[in-house]
Each structure stands twice: as C-alpha cells, then as structure tokens.
C-alpha cells in the first residue's frame, strides 16, 4: 500500500505590506495602529530630509514629531497628487521654516563645531565628512525651493514629476531649480 505522500507544505506568502493609501484610510477611520505604521515607515526619511535641510541636530526629533502630527491632522486634504512620503517631506519643510522663524535665526552650525559633536576620531570624521559639511553649508545658502528640490531629488531620489506635484510646480521648473542648486553647491564643494 502506497504510503500517502506527505503533503508538501505550501509556503505561506508573506503578506505584502499595506500601501500607504490603505493605512491613511484606516487612520481616518480611527485605526491608531495604521498611524503608527505610517510613522514607522516614514519617520527616518523625514529625519534625514530635515537634517539635510539644515535642522539643528538637537531639534530633529521634535521637528519629526511636529511634521507627523501636522500631516495626520491635515491628511483629509491629501489627494494623492504625490506619494504620502513626498507630501510628508514638504510638510517637514514647512515645519522647519516655522521653526526657523520662531528661533528668529537660521544659522548654519560651523564646520568644526559640527564635527566635534560627533563620536570617533575627529580627524577621521573630518576627512570623511568634509564634503558633507560643505554641502550642508551650501544647502543653507540655497533658496527654499532650490533646497527642497535638491534634497527630494538628490537625497530622496524622487522623479521630477513627483517633486513638481509635491511642491505644486511644473516638472520643468523643478529641473531648473535642481540645475541651479547643483551649480551653486558645486562651488561649495570646490
């Protein structure tokens, strides 16, 4: 009698993560965990964007929280014209601008001070981060639109169409802003 063949365990497909739109709809329906998942997905990218845009290191956590709170409160106005993350980053830009106004200053931390704040060998850190520090200074000199276009493109890797939709401008204008930003930033790197 033939032994029954063991039934091959069919691999259970891992559930694909819910798209942002689903989580947004769930959050609007009162699902707190959906909001938590959105924070987990996008908080680090937001922190990276804010730090790149010149947010003081000590304030990045607070600014991330503020941007997320604003986004959740205004999510009814999000029409899906761009990705949720892109929209969130532009809100982060607004939060940073307001923060700068409140502080009545928008000064770039000097290079040596920035590097002293880091762990590790100062010389090694200086060698590794020189270009980054110069870039940070240069970004601080850009106009807000140039800065945001540059960061969304170079740091976040977004397409021009996505950037244009998020910043309510045209794709061509986004390209021009990026071009001017790169031109100016190269001067800082030289």
């Amino acid at each position: 009698m033939a032994q029954p063949q063991p039934i091959a365990a069919t691999p259970t497909p891992s559930p694909s993560p819910a798209p942002d739109a689903t989580l947004i709809a769930a959050w609007r329906g009162g699902d707190e965990q959906a909001a938590a998942e959105l924070v987990r997905r996008h908080a680090r990218a937001l922190a990276r964007f804010l730090a790149g845009a010149g947010a003081p290191e000590a304030d990045v956590d607070d600014l991330v929280q503020e941007a997320l709170i604003r986004a959740f409160r205004a999510v009814a106005g999000f029409r899906g014209q761009c990705q949720f993350r892109t929209w969130l980053l532009t809100i982060g830009g607004n939060v940073l601008k307001d923060h700068g106004r409140r502080a009545a200053r928008h000064q770039v931390v000097p290079l040596d001070e920035r590097l002293r704040a880091r762990d590790g060998d100062p010389h090694e850190r200086a060698e590794a981060g020189e270009a980054e520090a110069r870039l940070a200074v240069g970004i601080g000199e850009l106009s807000r639109l140039q800065r945001e276009v540059f960061l969304l493109r170079a740091q976040q890797g977004l397409e021009y169409g996505e950037i244009a939709a998020a910043l309510d401008t045209t794709e061509g204008a986004a390209r021009v802003h990026y071009h001017h930003a790169v031109k100016r930033l190269k001067e800082f790197l030289q």
Binding site: E32, A35, A36, V39, R40, A43, R44, A45, A47, R48, F49, L50, A51, G52, A55, E57, V60, D61, V64, Q65, L68, I69, F72, R73, V75, A76, R118, G129, A131, E132, R134, L135, A136, I139, F150, L151, A154, Q155, V182, L185, K186, L189, Q190
Partner: protein, 143 residues
Amino acid sequence: MTDDAKLEAAAQRLGTEAAERLNVERTVAAVLERLRAEPVSASRVRWMQPAWLRIAAALVILVAGGLIGRRLLVQSGTGGGRGSHEVAHFVSDDLSDLSADQLRDVLTTLDETLDLGRTTLPEVDLDNLDAQQLRVVLRSLEG
C-alpha cells in the same frame, strides 16, 4: 571623482546620522500620544469652523448688500415722482371733501395770505405832487 559624483555621494550621506539616531518607536509613542490628546476630528472642526463662518459672513454681506443696493436703486428711480404723487394725493383728498362755499373760503383765505406777503407801493406819480404832498410822503417814509 567628478564634482557630480562627489555631490551625489555627499547628498546621499546627508542626514543619515540624524536618521539613524532617531528612535522610531519613541516617535511613534509620542505622535500617538499627541494625537490622542488632541483628536483629529476636534482639530478638523476647529479648522472648518472659521471656513464656514467666513462663507456665512460672505453670504450675509452679499445678501445685505444686494438688498441695500436694490432699495437705493428703487428710491433713486422713483423717488421724485413718488413725493409729488403723495402731495397731489393729499391736496386732492382735501379739496374733494369741501363744499362750494368752503372752497370759496379757502380761496379767499389764500388771497389774503398772499396779500399779506406783498409789499405794495402807492401807484402815484411823484411829479404830479405839490410841495405839501411831497412833504407828507417823505414824513411817512421816515416813519
């Protein structure tokens, strides 16, 4: 390394340390706590109210402005005729109720009223007066 590559690499590194330092779970807890403390619905209502109030105020202003403008137009278009019409109405009412005798009395009174306001000079030719008469006239004028 070209400038473009250098710039691209630096841009990729930008903010990575801040992102790594971020405590995501602490951020989740903080955000949820703030959302619970001030629910979205409440904040939405707070934002919506001024919008509805603005719309309502604009409607009130439009309606009130329209009514006032309409009234002004009506008054400017028919104001003079309406006033004279009212006067004519009152006079005709009064006169139609009077008898023939009463009408004559009214006319007489009207004549007397008009005579009271009229300054009449004696229709005399001063050239025809003698000296004595001229003296009398002068005395009367002197009062």
